[in-house]
């Protein structure tokens, strides 16, 4: 009964590779962009800060699928020609960077004010102050929500199948169209997503332990 899954295994594996690639690339970009946006919100001059905030509200307020459609159908009219893969990564990373930004921003703000005072009192300022005192504590505060958002991102990659980007979900649909074994194939696809996300959860737990200190 599960022959189908075994026979399609190489295809599923290759598609999983594509999903992992999408996740890693979008995850890295979203993290970088999220850090920049959070820094902008926290420290930039007022005008830039407002701009960043408006951008974040828009990104958080529009469904991912709508962003994908906008990129897929509207962008060609502007003369910009992106491959589905690059377009998918761009949309995923900008969309999730908005959530990352909020996580990083609130983590920095959650570091007690006394920590800033103590660090400044010693003579820290600027980037040094952030790196030595604030960021290590903020990372710990952010880690749970960060991993959570990463998991959403991995699952979010399944949506790019709709704009024709070949990855795990689209591969599953194609196999089902040929074999009609929808239950087995989508069962396998779901299992693969689950393993990826569960792995992320475990990694998150581990990191949280590593970063933790006695309070």
């Amino acid at each position: 009964m599960f022959d189908v899954v075994f026979r399609s295994w190489p295809l599923l594996l290759a598609a999983t590779g594509e999903t992992v690639l999408l996740s890693v690339a979008s995850g890295l970009l979203a993290t970088l962009l999220g850090i920049l946006l959070a820094l902008g919100q926290l420290f930039a001059a007022r005008a830039l800060r407002y701009l960043v905030e408006v951008w974040l509200y828009v990104m958080r307020g529009v469904p991912l699928l709508v962003l994908l459609f906008a990129m897929y159908y509207a962008l060609p009219y502007t003369g910009i020609d992106l491959s589905p893969r690059v377009g998918g990564i761009l949309v995923l990373s900008t969309y999730f960077s908005a959530f990352m930004a909020e996580i990083f921003r609130s983590a920095v703000l959650a570091v007690p004010k006394g920590q800033w005072d103590a660090a400044r009192g010693i003579g820290f300022h600027g980037w040094r102050l952030m790196r030595e005192v604030i960021v290590p504590q903020a990372l710990r505060l952010a880690s749970a929500s960060y991993v959570n958002t990463m998991i959403m991102l991995v699952k979010g990659t399944s949506l790019v199948s709709i704009i024709g980007l070949w990855e795990l979900t689209l591969a599953g649909r194609q196999i089902v169209e040929r074999t009609l074994a929808s239950f087995q194939v989508f069962g396998a696809v779901a299992l693969i997503y689950f393993v990826l996300c569960y792995g992320l959860s475990l990694a998150g737990r581990y990191l949280e332990k590593r970063f933790s200190y006695v309070h």
Binding site: G114, Q115, A118, A119, G121, G123, F124, G126, R140, V214
Partner: protein, 262 residues
């Protein structure tokens, strides 16, 4: 007349500060001379914390000036009252050690790292040298055996002594203490006051906000009484505690004696 011919280590002239519409400091003048311990007393809300934070430029102030060894703090020297670049302000802050009521140790660092991070990262001291200094200081405050502990594993009194060592490690010109025993269980207050007393005897310049009147009487060279954002009375401890001149200080001390049965 003081013997030292130079100016005071910390000079405040007409320092005023507002939080919104509330006048928190009102034209404060104060000289803290080298090697002296000045104790600030006064009712809650009288501006003691704010004054101390101004001395380390953790708060800006709208009027007046503060000089550390003659150098204007926080604002530029050219009379424009422009805020100095952050790098310069950081250098000025590093010259004064600050100890807070809530310890504010860095929770992600060991005791040793808390005490060495400033000397290594700010002053560029070699790690081995910074650690030697830190060990000696931690020995002095009785915590030489806790180098690898994290702040969360220490009692409040121990944490506060580490915080004092952390400030001292920067070799500051003066130390600022803001009610450093107020958050401690009563049985832990003594160990912190002992360290401060020892520091005063060693000739450290200190500004101390405290409600420990017995400590103020013994350790202070000068006591300053603040009320409503102004200095109301100042003088040697004997005079302030035993012959208060103003109505407000008399009332404050009476209140205190009743409350604390001194």
């Amino acid at each position: 007349m003081s013997i030292e011919s130079g100016r005071a280590a910390i000079e405040l002239r007409g320092v005023s500060k507002r939080f919104g519409s509330v006048q928190v400091l009102n034209r404060v003048d104060l000289d803290v001379h080298r090697g002296k311990a000045v104790v600030l007393i006064g009712p809650s809300g009288s501006g003691k914390t704010t004054l101390l934070r101004c001395m380390n430029f953790l708060e800006e102030f709208e009027e007046g000036e503060i000089r550390i060894d003659g150098e204007p703090l926080g604002y530029s020297d050219d009379g424009t009252r422009r805020r100095r670049p952050e790098r310069e302000i950081a250098r000025q802050r590093a010259a004064l050690g600050m100890v807070f009521q809530s310890f504010n140790l860095f929770p992600h660092m060991t005791v040793l790292a808390n005490v060495t991070v400033g000397p290594v990262r700010i002053k560029g001291l070699p790690r081995s040298e910074a650690e030697a200094v830190a060990r000696e200081l931690l020995d002095r405050v009785g915590l030489g055996h806790k180098l690898d502990a994290y702040p969360g594993q220490l009692s409040g009194g121990q944490q506060q002594r580490v915080a004092i060592a952390r400030a001292l490690a920067m070799k500051p010109k003066a130390m600022l203490f803001d009610e450093v025993t107020s958050a401690l269980d009563p049985e832990l207050v003594g160990e912190v006051l002992a360290v401060m007393r020892q520091l005063a005897e060693s000739g450290m310049t200190m500004v101390i906000v405290t409600h420990e009147m017995a400590f103020a009487r013994d350790a202070a060279d000068q006591v300053v009484f603040m009320s409503g954002g102004s200095i109301v009375e100042a003088g040697p401890p004997d005079q302030l505690f035993h012959a208060p001149q103003t109505e407000r200080l008399q009332a404050f001390l009476r209140h205190f004696r009743e409350g604390y049965r001194l």
